[in-house]
């Protein structure tokens, strides 16, 4: 490491918290603020958790430490990972290619860290594309493993049935090195119990499926970069087939329902009694106390999702929304499985546009903001692994291409990452502290 990351941090707003000192001989890594490091404040981007100093390390942190790495800080993210633009969090990270623009989110700080710090590996979490989205907008590789591949013990949940911990890095080599480190069964997270062993061989990418009409509604620059990438892949004698995956369009509303219902339960615990802020008005009867405290300290999106999630599980709504969304998840997954039986991966752009300026984000409504992650949500929704790789630049801003493979087939994604690194010209942002 050539310069102190804390100087770089000042320019990009990467970290919410850094360690006082670290061993520069060890590989530096960071974790998004919702992954616990013993003794470092963890807020998951929310004011309601101010002052939560966890008493234990997340399993991924212990495993990285055991592999000889050193954590240097917690990276900024949107509140409980609830926005694709890292704009609603405690502190907003700036894009490494243009500080006027957003990193995307929710793990914007993590993507930025991996772009601007030499040899840095950043851990982040995804509940709907929070790894792929900022990776694409910051021009780095973002790997989202299969749900259940990596222990989530020590991860502050917003959504529970999806949203694995994954990796950001400037090159494929670091992903290949650290995916095995953070993967594997963990008795503290039962969801990891059924995973088959992670095998990283020389499995080549041979055929990919592209959903028909996938570039409808994306920016001209993204369409051109995507089509150019397809030509490059064809040139590497990879079969490309356009397939009908119209079921994917149901993923967005169903994902929204499951993520808000799960968030409503996961956020219920925050009430200023056991962790985080402790300054509620204790003279109130407890129901009034809960309402006043949560109204005061949860952000707008967190409150909206709590209300929506509760509404969608009450009484008959439970059947209308929640149970139906579970069925839709199976439908979307079946669509993927059909295609992945004959193809190694499904290929789409990662984002429909390049990183937005902060002034543009302010004008976005929440529907547009949510639909921006329409390429990244469906795979995470089904627990499938994905990779976003940089594939081109427009006005100096990076764009990404996303590969989705079948459950547990991360090895295909790692070879796709190598392929992209060889085939596409990848730029490293210029950093002047």
């Amino acid at each position: 490491m050539t310069s102190d990351p804390r100087d770089i941090d000042k320019k990009y707003n990467i970290f919410s918290e850094t360690v006082p000192s670290f061993n520069i001989k060890r590989t530096a890594f960071s974790v998004s603020d919702d992954i616990l490091v013993k003794g470092l404040q963890a807020t998951a981007g929310s004011r309601i958790l101010d002052g939560y100093y966890p008493v234990f390390d997340a399993t991924v942190v212990s495993r990285m430490n055991a592999a000889g790495c050193s954590v240097i800080g917690k990276t900024n993210m949107s509140e409980f990972g609830m926005s694709a633009f890292s704009a609603a969090g405690v502190d907003t990270p700036k894009n490494p290619f243009d500080p006027e623009r957003s990193c995307g989110g929710s793990c914007g700080g993590a993507a930025c860290a991996s772009a601007v710090l030499d040899g840095h590996i950043a851990l982040g979490t995804s509940a709907g594309g929070s790894i792929s989205v900022p990776a694409a907008l910051c021009g780095v590789f973002g790997l989202t493993p299969t749900h259940g591949r990596v222990s989530r013990y020590g991860q502050i949940d917003s959504v529970s049935s999806m949203g694995p911990i994954g990796l950001f890095a400037m090159g494929s080599e670091l992903l290949k090195k650290f995916l095995p480190v953070i993967s594997g069964k963990d008795e503290k997270d039962l969801v990891t119990a059924t995973q088959p062993e992670l095998k990283i061989g020389k499995r080549k990418l041979r055929s990919v499926a592209v959903p028909k009409n996938v570039t409808d509604g994306v920016s001209d620059a993204v369409r051109k970069a995507f089509n150019d990438s397809l030509d490059v892949l064809k040139g590497m004698s990879i079969d490309i087939e356009y397939v009908d995956m119209s079921n994917l369009r149901y993923a967005m509303p169903a994902h929204y329902i499951l993520s808000v219902t799960e968030a409503a339960t996961n956020l219920a615990k925050y009430c200023g009694m056991r962790c985080g802020r402790q300054d509620g008005d204790l003279s109130l009867p407890f129901n009034d106390y809960f309402v006043s405290f949560r109204t005061k300290y949860l952000g707008r999106e967190a409150k909206l999702r709590t209300a929506m999630g509760t509404y969608m599980t009450l009484g008959d709504n439970r059947r209308t929304f929640y149970l139906r969304a579970l069925g839709v998840r199976q439908l979307v997954l079946n669509g993927y499985k059909d295609v992945l039986r004959t193809h190694d991966a499904v290929l789409t752009p990662t984002m429909p546009f390049i990183a937005l300026k902060f002034t543009e984000i302010e004008k976005m409504n929440s529907m547009d903001s949510y639909m921006a992650s329409r390429f990244t949500v469906p795979s995470v929704f089904c627990g499938l692994p994905s990779l976003s790789a940089p594939c081109g630049y427009s006005d100096g801003m990076p764009m990404g291409i996303q590969f989705v493979s079948d459950h547990w087939n991360e090895d295909v994604l790692l070879s796709a990452a190598e392929l992209c690194e060889r085939s596409f010209k990848i730029k490293v942002p210029e950093v002047s502290p």
Binding site: R152, D189, A268, K269, F286, R318, Y322
Partner: protein, 445 residues
């Protein structure tokens, strides 16, 4: 009047349900807690298999259907002692579904039995309240009955019988009664029901229900209406008081618990051999060995290990003879035998087999059994017995009319028994005298 109960049984596991904190032995409040019991962000539940095993055993006891695959759900409500503000419980796939229980002849339907965690406990203190999380995440089975119970006294009877049965299946500690908490639902014909929450102890269940029955009847008689509500039982004043309007199931906003996934219950269930409840054992003995229902229950109620001894003997010799030895010398020596049954079982078996093979006669066999049970010298006993026989024969000779009287009613034997007891000055036990007198008289008629 309709009464339905929700019975919370704390399970005797070594550690808690979703973490490895010890389940017992805390010397003070908040001693056995970890970040998981406190609902700290970043923790997630792991599953104590022992709790699932006990759940399956209880479900079988209640003749419930046990699902092949089960999952857990989150039940959401805000209360200070609930660490995550959702309780991990079972909603769609309870560990036991649609069972039944028989209180003598009366059938009480079991709606369901599900596994869930306990919240912490809260204690009022001055203006505020103190919360102890030792109990947080402790495993429970909640047994929900159909509204088949028709009186407070029957509710108590049912609980008593049920607890007795539960103790035979799982090793509940003897003071387990206090760790049983019951929510009592009671309604009068055509009226809404009220739920009295968290009543501990059988006596209190009966009292709370009786109070409610009287209160509700009074309200209805005076033209009032019972509204659906949760009530609290005040043990000191022995009254119930309104707590809050009862929430409906739909208000709990249940969703699946994604952190625990689907549990392969069948795989666990296949490895469990369940201890039988005494009631089920009596029914089975009756069917399998063709013995009288009353006698089967009598043996089982005397001692489950006596019933087990019967079953052991009935596999070696005829069931009829096994029953004869069990109700005869074994039963009369049971007080002595019970504590040494494991060491003496084979010896007893050998003796009765000799009779079965005609190697010894009935008297000899009876005597040997007695000698063996009491650890006495059979020769000495034989002599004593011969002396006793002589005394009895002498008494019969002196009262010959006894024989014809005995033919009409076996009560006539009492005359001889009285004489012998008096003459021997109590040197023989009454059961020996009774047995010998009847044997001799039977031989004479």
């Amino acid at each position: 009047m309709k009464i339905g109960l929700e019975i919370h049984v704390q399970l005797p596991t070594r550690s808690k349900m979703f973490c490895s904190c010890p389940a017992t032995g805390a010397s003070g409040p908040n001693e056995h807690i970890c970040p998981g019991c406190m609902g700290m962000p970043g923790t997630r539940p792991s599953l104590n298999k022992e709790a699932v095993v006990i759940g399956i055993k209880l479900a079988r006891l209640l003749n419930c259907t046990v699902p092949d695959v089960a999952w857990f759900s989150r039940k959401i409500y805000f209360y200070p002692d609930l660490c995550r503000h959702y309780q991990i419980t079972q909603y769609e796939t309870p560990i036991g579904n649609a069972g039944e229980y028989y209180l003598d002849k009366k059938r009480i339907g079991i709606t369901r039995a599900h596994l869930e965690e306990d919240p912490g406990s809260m204690k009022k203190s001055g203006d505020g309240a103190l919360i102890d999380y030792n109990r947080s995440v402790m495993p429970l089975v909640e047994i929900v009955t159909d509204p088949d119970i028709s009186s407070p006294a029957e509710a108590r009877e049912f609980l008593k019988a049920l607890l007795n049965d539960i103790r035979h299946v799982v090793d509940l500690p003897d003071d387990g009664e206090r760790s049983i908490r019951v929510d009592c639902n009671i309604s009068m014909a055509g009226s809404e029901r009220c739920e009295v929450k968290n009543v501990t102890g059988l006596k209190n269940v009966e009292r709370a229900l009786t109070f409610e029955a009287v209160r509700q009847t009074k309200v209805i008689k005076s033209g009032g209406k019972i509204s659906r509500e949760t009530r609290h039982y005040d043990e000191e004043r022995k009254v119930t008081t309104a707590a809050r309007k009862k929430a409906f199931e739909g208000d709990y906003a249940y969703i699946g618990e994604p952190d625990l996934g689907a549990i392969n219950v069948k795989k666990i269930a296949d490895t469990i051999t369940t201890k039988e409840s005494p009631l089920n054992m009596a029914i089975r003995l009756q069917k399998e060995y063709g013995i009288d229902e009353k006698i089967a229950k009598q043996i089982v109620n005397t001692s489950v290990s006596m019933a087990a001894l019967f079953e052991h003997l009935a596999r070696k010799i005829s069931a009829k003879n096994a029953l004869m030895w069990i109700t005869g010398p074994i039963s009369s020596g049971w007080k002595t035998l019970e504590s040494q049954i494991n060491e003496k079982r084979d010896g007893i078996t050998d003796i009765v087999i000799q009779y079965e093979k005609d190697e010894i006669n009935r008297t000899e066999c009876s005597m040997r059994l007695k000698a063996f049970i009491f650890g006495e010298d059979p020769e000495n006993m034989k002599k004593n017995s011969a002396d006793l026989d002589a005394l009895i024969k002498k008494a019969i000779d002196e009262n010959p009319s006894v024989i014809s009287d005995y033919k009409k009613s076996d009560k006539a034997a009492n005359r001889i028994i009285g004489i012998v007891m008096k003459e021997s000055g109590g040197s023989y036990s009454s059961s020996d005298v009774v047995e010998a007198t009847k044997r001799i008289l039977n031989g004479m008629i």
